[in-house]
Symmetry: C2
Subunit: 189 residues, 2 copies
């Protein structure tokens, strides 16, 4: 069973080694991890004329369509939320009706992360940032569309609170997520 490994892991200093590490965990539990940098079998010849970034986008969409589930690294990325490219892909897979899973190396709730990040203040019964925009307070791990999709799709969220120095290397929450995905995907129908 192929699972697409969405995440900002592609931005790490050695993304290919990271992809290999994630795939090793998947294989340990009977799944085939598909990393965003993997080549696409039968890539349409016409794509060769496109700029590199458009090819990457189309290739990742095709990788997602070819996978049975998606596991997203939702570790906060340059702010209180997950990487937007990762979340785009999670929404894409959710619309296809297949299970989506998420993991993160922080267990701090989204509302608290966001309040801290934007120095929010209470105003009119709500927490608001400096521009007056309200802060979601539903007890979710990130924006409610993400948590909602994971739950409605039959997936799961796994988090671990790790030291800052290992937040892009610790794979404990990822492995728990892979175990959950393997159990769902290989369960008798």
């Amino acid at each position: 069973m192929r699972v697409y490994l969405a995440g900002p892991d592609v931005f790490l200093p050695d993304p290919l080694a990271r992809g290999a590490a994630l795939k090793t965990v998947c294989a340990r539990h009977g799944l085939t991890g598909v990393f965003p940098l993997d080549p696409l079998a039968d890539e349409p010849a016409a794509w060769a004329a496109l700029p590199e970034w458009q090819r990457i986008a189309l290739r990742n969409e095709a990788h997602i369509r070819g996978a049975a589930a998606l596991i997203a690294n939702l570790t906060p990325f340059r702010g209180p939320s997950a990487d937007v490219g990762t979340v785009f892909e999670l929404g894409f897979m959710r619309a296809l009706g297949r299970p989506v899973f998420g993991w993160s190396t922080t267990a701090e709730p989204f509302a608290e992360r966001t309040r801290r990040h934007c120095a929010a203040r209470r105003s009119g019964g709500r927490w608001r940032d400096a521009e007056g925009l309200s802060v979601e307070a539903f007890g979710c791990s990130d924006n409610l569309m993400i948590d909602g999709a994971v739950i409605a799709s039959g997936g799961a969220l796994e988090t671990a609170e790790v030291p800052a120095a290992t937040r892009w290397s610790d794979l404990a929450a990822f492995e728990r997520c892979v175990i959950r995905a393997a159990a769902l995907l290989t369960a008798p129908r």
Copy 2:
């Protein structure tokens, strides 16, 4: 033609007034704007048992499925990228194969916004943040999955550089986006 109005506009101090303003622009160009806070016709009775945030997530997914296109407010939100809830919805609609549009009240390229936000430095031929993660440098308006989806879907991106004080009120880029969407959706097949 119904168009779903994705965006962090729901977090503004008067979200209903904001939704009404966006819908007025849509109506001016022959489109019916659907705002995330709109009630859903024929909402399944079973949803009443769910927590509010799960109902909101399912309702927004249903609103997107019921729309012919999506127009996303991609104005940077609490960091260099768009709001992740908005981007989830954009990915969701992209997977449905319908056109997705984006607009923003900043015209500054994503790479420059990100470098500034995370005080990136050149290292090994790439811009990297303090954690060593690289910064995308493809000349896109946000993460390449967003720009790629907009282009591949037949949509368009519209930006305007506006003063900070009006970045959550100026609708010039939005209206240009609505005009592009109306032209595409009402074009003879």
